[in-house]
Symmetry: C2
Subunit: 371 residues, 2 copies
């Protein structure tokens, strides 16, 4: 029940971007929505870089995930416009595109293998000579051996996005309850949406596990914008790294992918990230290092999210396991989960991401197998 | 005047290790001492590594400074024992000695040139083969080309030392006044001691300028002691770095020396420090990075401190400009400045460090020429 005694249609667990966007969509359609989270936006999104990169992140063996990433990225322009209209706030949505680069000959060979795969899927990847790279971004290291442009891979600032989504959800009528949910049985609602990131495992028994990522935030000295405008992703002496420029001078440099559950920042990870970043963009050495932090992504056995009803619980919808893709997948997740709540009919796009695809997933709520 | 209406014998400006040690010595001899500092221990000492390294830091062209460093290091064992007796607290005084190492052939050639100079001064420097290095510290990188032991170069933890000195000074009767001193003319005391670090310039007109240092603090994972016991100083691909192990698992990794007055932490400095540290002690890559910070050392034109009366002001004694050597120089500074206050006769050791040695230093208090 909400505070005013009316029945709750949907209880959303988790006020990260996924949960808030779902709540926004449902509340805007007239449903009574309550979002439960003691610390909204404090999960993976607080650490995320915010790349909207379905092309650069189209990896071997993940075609179904790539399809969903592309579908969601295609929704981002309209989603961003709607969010701006609903809130009037700026959340760092930028469309300069992404440069993919290789530092050494070995790096370039590795990168070209991936770009050929991406081109084979029909994705927009335009190879560039070193001179073409530097024409677009003069700050790139002169020794880069080559690169490619993914013009449709964009970015948004997750630390601005979450407050914007929260405003949008609340203006549409959703109610935020700043208390944790220990058990789904504590919730009284027609439908429950579990958008709790890593916390989904304990609530649902789904095989969602924390995947540690360490990430740095730098700042251009003197309060100016960074010395580059594109998102830069690269291979640098075997190290994969991305560098994301923000209009306010911030530069996000990330990220490790570690099968660990702690959130300590290690000397070796900071060293590797800084070395690769400075190798690609030497001017970064002069930037202030303002934050080094680790977060936990909600990973699944196949790296793809879990979207839809729990086995045997049609009233409980999972919207979790977004791993490294939570920000780009926010629009499609919100739209399709909202449609599912409203119509009861799953969109065909959701089929590969059913909750019952993992062998051994219990048909009912169980203890967290990862804890 | 002190709070109880009695006349003040000595007003000390600055409650860093220098000011507090002087206050301790003078109060213990029966003088009425007031120490002025709004934020005790917040200057260079809060960032310092605490090496007591007169041998490893005996550089070309600094023989007079080296003499003072050696004199002070020789006083450290008794000083530490007295401080322990006066306070009962632990301040991380350790006597395992310092290993000096060279990573590459070029690094070793550069290091050997310095070790030969140090040996020429009669200082205890014992060359070691790579095997001998690793016998003493198995965690050192196998690729190190060589090293030397400076067994008399020790360490102390400045963040523990300052509170210990404060306790000792207060127990001896010194009074701390947590207010800033804007002008020396605001002080009412028979003698004024200016131990204000970088702040001495504005108060006295002495050519003391801030010299930026960036430094990292790591921590061994799991709450254990670090994987090495000696202080390690090294040349690593041309980068000079030191690594200081503390009993509680902390490792201090430093430090840059920059002619800058800001205290921002830069990506390039952190990268260089981490790279050199991990090159010398590979296990550090697994350590938590818990702090990256910059401080300002009080430097002088000849890198040596200023110890004694201001020109034309026999009642105002400077004890500042300790640059990179404030911790090791604390005992000799405290003893000799206290003796000067009590006897009016300067110790011959002080002669090279007079305040009037810099051409152009005004004979009276003036505006800060560096601001």
């Amino acid at each position: 029940m909400t505070g005013d005694g009316t029945a709750v249609d949907v209880a959303v667990v988790g006020a990260g971007p996924i949960g808030l966007a779902i709540a926004w969509r449902l509340a805007a359609r007239g449903l009574r929505v309550v979002v439960h989270d003691p610390t909204p936006g404090s999960g993976a999104s607080a650490v995320a870089a915010g790349m909207l990169s379905p092309v650069a992140e189209a990896y071997f063996g993940e075609r179904q995930l790539t399809g969903l990433l592309l579908a969601s990225a295609a929704r981002w322009p309209a989603f961003a416009a709607e969010l701006t209209e609903a809130t009037g706030v700026e959340f760092g949505y930028r469309t300069e595109g992404t440069l993919m680069v290789g530092l050494t000959g070995d790096d370039l060979a590795e990168a070209r293998r991936l770009w050929a795969y991406q081109q084979g899927l029909g994705l927009p990847v335009t190879p560039l000579l070193p001179s073409g790279l530097r024409d677009r971004e003069p700050a790139l290291a002169p020794r880069l051996r080559g690169g490619a442009l993914a013009p449709t891979d964009h970015q948004v600032d997750p630390r601005l996005l979450v407050p914007a989504l929260r405003t949008a959800a609340q203006r549409a009528g959703a109610v935020l309850v700043p208390r944790p949910v220990r058990r789904l049985s504590d919730l009284d609602a027609r439908v429950i949406v579990v958008a709790a990131g890593c916390g989904a495992a304990a609530l649902t028994g789904l095989p969602v596990r924390p995947v540690k990522g360490q990430i740095l935030r730098l700042r251009a000295p003197g309060g100016v914008a960074p010395c580059f405008r594109h998102v830069v992703r690269g291979y640098a002496d075997g190290e994969q790294v991305y560098v994301v420029p923000r209009a306010d001078g911030e530069v996000v440099l990330g990220a490790t992918v570690e099968e660990r559950t702690d959130t300590t920042v290690t000397a070796g990870a900071v060293l590797r990230l800084l070395r690769a970043g400075v190798d690609l963009l030497p001017e970064l050495a002069e930037y202030d290092l303002v934050e080094a932090v680790a977060g936990l992504r909600p990973g699944t056995p196949d790296n793809a999210p879990v979207l839809g009803p729990l086995p045997g619980r049609p009233d409980v919808l999972a919207a979790t396991g977004h791993h490294r893709h939570g920000i780009v997948l926010t629009p499609v997740t919100a739209d399709l989960i909202a449609d599912l709540v409203l119509t009861g009919v799953p969109d065909p796009l959701l089929a590969p991401f059913r909750a019952d695809r993992f062998p051994g997933t219990a048909r009912t709520i169980q203890e967290d197998p990862w804890s």
